[in-house]
């Protein structure tokens, strides 16, 4: 999908000739680019994760969320049907729902008491006929012409996606076969929420999108992974890119560890100390699937991640909060079918990720270090050539930045940022 639009940036952005093997620092700190992303990506022909089906299990349940900067309401109506709409009254534009979660008969704006059904249709307007025959709306006021602005919505494996664009392709083809298969593997059975929190990271949202696709850094920065042999690049694993390269899966098979000298030779700080846990219950795990995969990270462009670290299943999604600020949401999950012991293991392994995660807390600051390092040099570019210069799957090694290049492939495509040579 290539969108040709006139260059809206006051100062046009020309992508370096090396293509996806370079990333101009400017994309992380330019407010004009941030604004353009809201239009082309967040309001453009892309599916965006809104919330989980289990966030609104009962008729009348309401959940507020965001699609980019736009506040969103997701509802389950009294017939059980799910709807998504902008959280903005059709009258003056005030937020209609203020709480994260609620169970209601209808949606009521507190400002002038305009009342909407759970499908977003306007049901009645306070004082429509005025008071004692005086005032009121004009005679030609048509209640059916005012409503909460709806989003298109599709659901896959308990994930609710929304889009503003009528041109967005069907969700299944947006995801592609490999991605839907793996989402089904991880989420395709009744889920239950085990815990939630969020993390404010002081960096552009795309630095986190890169970070979760970066299998090169995972075992270098996150010492705990390596030391306790949860995930190392000398275990079998690979990177799968979706057909259009926008999404990815990174997977590891823990049982296949063949200790590589490179970890010691590179003086990788993450392999510098050998240690046993004083509380080994942290890493007690069982094989949930028979495919040997014990660790996986799956991204769905632009802002969704599904994590399966040992038995720790979590959905992460991130919301841009300005050009240099992002809120990262963690939703820890289990299955309805889990027994007490399995739930206990997921709780223990919950320590691995999240804002205080033993293998993930570094990501709270590392992207900020890039933000701080790059913001004064918008004309410079990052060098992204680990594992080659192309964005292609690699099922034999994760010592590659292939999925990072895949993200930039998708990003450039939808933003219309062309390279020097093609201009």
């Amino acid at each position: 999908m290539s969108i040709s639009v006139s260059e809206p940036l006051t100062e046009p952005l020309t992508w370096p000739a090396e293509g996806v093997a370079r990333v101009p620092y400017r994309v992380f700190s330019d407010p004009d680019i941030y604004a353009l992303e809201q239009e082309r990506i967040f309001r453009g022909p892309v599916w965006h994760f809104l919330c989980l089906e289990i966030d609104i299990p009962k008729h009348g349940d309401v959940r507020t969320t965001w699609l980019g900067d736009t506040p969103i309401i997701v509802t389950r109506d009294h017939d059980g049907k799910i709807h998504a709409m902008i959280n903005r009254c059709a009258h003056k534009g005030a937020l209609v729902c203020l709480k994260k979660s609620a169970n209601v008969e209808s949606l009521r704006c507190v400002y002038h008491a305009w009342n909407y059904g759970l499908d977003g249709k306007l049901k009645n307007v306070a004082f429509r006929k005025g008071i004692q025959g005086k005032g009121g709306m004009p005679d030609d006021f048509d209640i059916s012409k005012h409503r909460l602005e709806p989003l298109r919505l599709e659901i896959f494996s308990g994930l609710i996606f929304g889009t503003f664009s009528s041109e967005t392709e069907p969700l299944r083809s947006f995801l592609g076969d490999r991605m839907t298969q793996f989402l089904s593997r991880n989420l395709g059975r009744p889920l239950k929420t085990l815990g939630v929190h969020s993390q404010i990271i002081h960096n552009n949202w795309k630095l986190y999108a890169e970070n979760v696709r970066d299998s090169y850094h995972a075992t270098l920065l996150h010492t705990f992974y390596t030391t306790f042999k949860v995930n190392r690049l000398d275990m079998d694993g690979g990177i799968i890119l979706s057909d259009k390269k926008w999404h990815h899966i990174s997977y590891t098979k823990r049982a296949t560890l063949k200790p590589a000298q490179e970890y010691n030779e590179a003086k990788v700080h993450s392999a510098q100390y050998e240690s046993k846990l004083a509380g080994p219950a942290l890493l007690a795990a069982w094989d949930e699937f028979d495919d040997g995969i014990t660790h996986s990270i799956q991204s769905v462009f632009p802002t969704l991640v599904v994590q399966f670290t040992l038995n720790s299943l979590a959905v992460r999604f991130f919301v841009p909060r300005g050009v240099d600020k992002t809120e990262l949401f963690w939703v820890f999950l289990g299955y309805e079918r889990d027994d007490a012991e399995q739930t206990r293991m997921r709780i223990m392994q919950g320590n691995l990720t999240g804002a205080a995660g033993l293998v993930s807390l570094e990501d709270g600051c590392i992207n900020e270090f890039v933000q701080r390092g790059t913001r004064t040099s918008p004309q410079r570019a990052a060098f992204v050539e680990m594992g080659g210069r192309e964005a292609v799957s690699n099922e034999s090694s994760r010592a590659t930045e292939a999925a990072v290049r895949g993200f930039w492939h998708g990003y450039r495509n939808i933003m219309g940022f062309e390279t020097e040579s093609t201009r």
Binding site: H197, T227, I347, A356
Partner: protein, 169 residues
């Protein structure tokens, strides 16, 4: 996991000397964290103690996973080892401001204590900011000379953690 009471009501009159002993213990804990003598931190807990950091939102929803969960002093010690030798983060210090605890006798020698706190964090660049507010829900064993936490649940008011949480609260 046992349900967490959100309040420790002061139902019986506690001997002022016991109250003072508890206040000293809680103050000492905070100062150890604020002064960076993190190696002393596990010593505040009983062998099979629970230490948890979670949020008001998780508590109210009955969700068992919060931000951090340790069961037993082994896991508590592992956190210290991880932050000293494994985890990468920008250096920072805390300043705990504690509220006066309310104390309830649970059984002979064991008290349930609730106290409010705020923690200011000073980062490498010199900036000091409010990092966390919330309450401690504790069960403290007073039977030995050295009091010890049987349970310390840190309930954050906010669901949001700024940057990361690596030093305990």
């Amino acid at each position: 996991m046992s349900a967490t009471p959100l309040k420790a009501e002061a139902t019986t009159v506690i001997d002022p000397e016991i109250h003072l002993r508890i206040e000293d213990f809680l103050t000492c804990y905070a100062h150890v964290l604020d002064d960076g003598t993190i190696d002393e931190w596990p010593g505040f807990f009983a062998e099979d103690a629970i230490y948890q950091i979670t949020t008001r939102e998780n508590c109210e929803a009955g969700y068992p996973i919060g931000v951090l969960y340790c069961e037993g002093r082994g896991m508590i010690t592992d956190r210290v080892k991880a932050l000293k030798t494994a985890n990468i983060f920008e250096g920072h210090t805390y300043c705990h401001i504690l509220g006066r605890p309310s104390v309830r006798q649970e059984r002979l020698g064991v008290v349930a204590v609730r106290s409010n706190f705020s923690v200011f964090r000073t980062m490498e660049d010199g900036k000091a900011e409010l990092f966390a507010t919330g309450k401690y829900l504790d069960r403290i064993d007073l039977r030995d000379e050295q009091p010890r936490f049987l349970e310390r649940r840190v309930i954050l008011d906010s669901r949001r953690i700024d940057v990361l949480l690596v030093l305990p609260l």
